[in-house]
């Protein structure tokens, strides 16, 4: 149970800035996910919080105590590593028992707690094996067991599921969430998989090149991305983005694009940041729209409505992803799979006016305030 605060946290390796002025506050009992593309500094941030990496500048506080110079063993944090880092020379039992042995717990207590944890994770039949005799999923559980056998203040998990197959990953994902809810221990979880981040996190911190892009609940990140990077990183398939210009048609604001003019919903207009609101006539923007917010119909074409050609239809069971080309731009739409358009067919596209995203073309920051 604890609160973690990073203030202006920086880590440099020689000339590389791995972590660049990160500010984040993790609440007591929260499940916080750090997500971002490979090499963006997630692991480095986590290792600094754990004490495995020195801090170049900035501060880390755990429960109000500055821990920058505290050795890991004094921080009372448990960590699950991406490669499990089981001790090859200890059997499973001793792997899980090691943190307790270091704390000089009585033998009976160690025995009991290891057994409890092993039962909880379904590895009680493996206690007498060597780590090399385990499958990836079993190793994963043992690594988890070693972390939860004691009650640390904080869990750090570095891509613990990345080596598992898709099915096991989904299952372990649920188990970890379940475990964390039961234990109520503050957890920081690193992943580069946005689906994992969305499904697991109470809140998510998106990083890119060492910098924080946005911190927020999954719905906030999905519905109100702070910039184009977050918009396209979160969600699959990625959000469509294309150039446009805010203009007015009969007093209504529209986005004018190469392939048509699309109305902007009133709720969005209301949220346009005041300093950004179009001093009408010409405001260049990058317009974003999620695949599920594009609807297609093959209704009789009126000359006014924008028409796209269907390039490819990928069925996924319930849904289908439809790739479209329209005036040199490629869009992906998501439609119910029961009546997908045929390839090479011409369709009319509608963009949900209330689900558009507008970004500054230079800074790529959002132009919309949070509702």
């Amino acid at each position: 149970m604890s609160v973690v605060v990073c203030k202006e946290l920086v880590k440099r390796f020689g000339a590389t800035v791995a972590v660049d002025h990160v500010n984040v506050e993790i609440q007591d009992g929260e499940f916080m996910v750090f997500v971002g593309p490979s090499g963006c500094g997630k692991t480095t941030t986590l290792r600094m919080i754990g004490g495995l990496e020195t801090v170049t500048s900035g501060d880390i506080f755990i429960d109000g105590v500055r821990v920058n110079n505290l050795a890991p063993r004094h921080r009372d944090i448990a960590m699950v590593f991406q490669n499990y880092a089981l001790y090859p020379h200890y059997k499973v039992f001793d792997n899980i028992a090691y943190p307790l042995r270091l704390r000089k717990r009585p033998k009976a207590e160690i025995e009991e707690r290891v057994n409890t944890v092993a039962r909880m994770l379904g590895v009680q039949h493996l206690l007498d094996r060597w780590p090399r005799q385990l499958s990836g999923g079993e190793r994963q559980r043992v690594a988890l067991g070693r972390a939860i056998v004691r009650n640390p203040k904080l869990y750090l998990m570095d891509e613990p599921l990345s080596n598992l197959d898709a099915k096991l990953r989904v299952q372990m994902r649920r188990e970890i969430i379940h475990l964390q809810r039961n234990l109520g221990t503050t957890t920081i979880y690193v992943t580069h998989d946005q689906v994992e981040a969305m499904t697991m996190g109470d809140r998510i911190m998106v990083m890119r090149a060492g910098k924080v892009q946005q911190i927020g609940a999954p719905e906030v990140l999905y519905n109100h991305p702070a910039n184009l990077f977050v918009a396209q990183f979160i969600g699959s398939p990625a959000m469509n983005a294309f150039k446009g210009r805010l203009e007015t048609d009969d007093g209504k604001i529209v986005v004018a694009t190469e392939f048509g003019r699309f109305p902007v919903g009133d709720p969005l207009v209301a949220r346009l940041k005041p300093d950004r609101s179009p001093t009408l006539g010409a405001r260049e923007v990058i317009c974003g729209i999620r695949p599920e917010d594009i609807t297609l119909d093959d209704a009789p074409v009126t000359p006014a409505s924008p028409q796209a050609q269907v390039d490819l239809v990928e069925g996924l069971g319930a849904d289908a992803y439809v790739s479209l080309t329209i005036g040199g731009t490629t869009l992906i739409a998501r439609t119910p799979a029961d009546c997908p358009p045929a390839e090479n067919q011409l369709v009319t596209i509608h963009l949900n006016p209330n689900k558009l995203h507008l970004f500054d073309p230079i800074t790529e920051e959002t132009l919309l305030a949070l509702p």
Binding site: L52, P72, F81, Y87, H89, Y98, L102
Partner: protein
């Protein structure tokens, strides 16, 4: 009933043995080229290892002439002579002390050295290169050099000790039985440190680094990391390297012979220098063969037991 059972087992045994032979023959016929390439090495091995070994075995159980040829079957006559030898008990004790003393000291010195060299510090590469220095010259020549260093009148050691006023006397390092024995062990250790240190270094570098991170997070301090991670991880290499060192120390000739030739009064001899004297000074080749054979058998049994015992806990 029993008879039939026996017949059945033995026939199935011969059948499986035949199968093995047949599969070997088939393997060679199908893949003859690689086996063809092996022939020179097999011949060399036979000539250089098998022949002397067989010869020694035959010699150990034969009466021999003055140039070491086996002339007639002698059963255990050589071994009886060996047991009656007035020096053999001392030689055995000295050999054991020499071997285990030097190997133990080498381990004790090499491990910390390897730990230091495994750290990153300026000049680490140079230090590692310097470590190999004792290997730069043939051991027999270095041992000769050490003999001069230890010389009571002309040696560098006494010169340094006297100049620095640590001792006044000209210590007779190699004439005093105890000091001489310590000196040969010292040089044996000195010559073995590079190999063992490099093996330990290799062992240290093959330890997965992330287990130290895990241990730190689990609450380990530097001492725990060494005791709970490094040492157990070095166990395998330690078993191999100590076994090799023990075997090599048992056969060590190139230190003792150039330094003392076993003097004074056979007090620095080990089994190898002694059997050399038996054979080439006393021309008691049979006894020499017997001693060689006994050492061989002892080492064989020792190796098997040693690896079995030390490895037994691992699954």
């Amino acid at each position: 009933m029993t008879a039939t059972a026996e017949v059945v087992t033995s026939s199935s045994e011969t059948a499986s043995r035949e199968n093995i032979w047949r599969s070997i023959v088939r393997e060679i016929r199908e893949n003859h080229f690689p086996y063809l390439l092996l022939i020179p090495s097999i011949l060399c091995f036979a000539a250089l290892v098998i022949y002397p070994l067989v010869n020694t075995m035959i010699g150990a159980f034969s009466k021999t002439d003055t140039v070491g040829r086996a002339v007639e079957f002698g059963a255990l006559i050589n071994f009886r002579e060996l047991v009656r030898d007035r020096y053999i008990l001392n030689i055995t004790i000295q050999t054991v002390i020499f071997v285990f003393g030097s190997v133990a000291l080498t381990v004790v010195l090499s491990l910390p050295l390897a730990l230091i060299l495994n750290q990153r510090f300026p000049g680490a590469a140079l230090a590692r290169a310097l470590l190999l220095m004792p290997w730069a010259a043939p051991l027999a020549i270095s041992a000769m050099t050490w003999r001069w260093i230890f010389h009571d009148q002309l040696g560098a050691l006494n010169y340094v000790l006297n100049t620095l006023n640590i001792t006044q006397a000209r210590t007779a390092w190699l004439s005093d039985p105890v000091l001489a024995f310590i000196c040969v062990i010292f040089v044996e250790v000195w010559s073995s440190i590079p190999f063992m240190t490099i093996m330990f270094l290799a062992g240290l570098q093959s330890i997965p680094p992330h287990i130290y991170d895990a241990a730190k997070m689990d609450g380990a301090n530097a001492w725990h990391e060494f005791w709970d991670m490094t040492l157990p991880q070095l166990k395998r290499i330690t078993i191999i390297v100590t076994l090799l060192s023990i075997i090599w120390a048992f056969r060590s000739f190139n230190v003792i012979w150039p330094m003392t030739q076993g003097n004074p009064f056979f007090r620095t001899d080990n089994s190898v220098t002694y059997l050399y004297k038996l054979a080439f000074r006393s021309l008691a080749f049979g006894e020499g063969y017997a001693l060689a054979f006994a050492t061989f058998v002892f080492l064989l049994i020792f190796s098997v037991v040693y690896t079995r015992v030390l490895r037994s806990e691992e699954g």
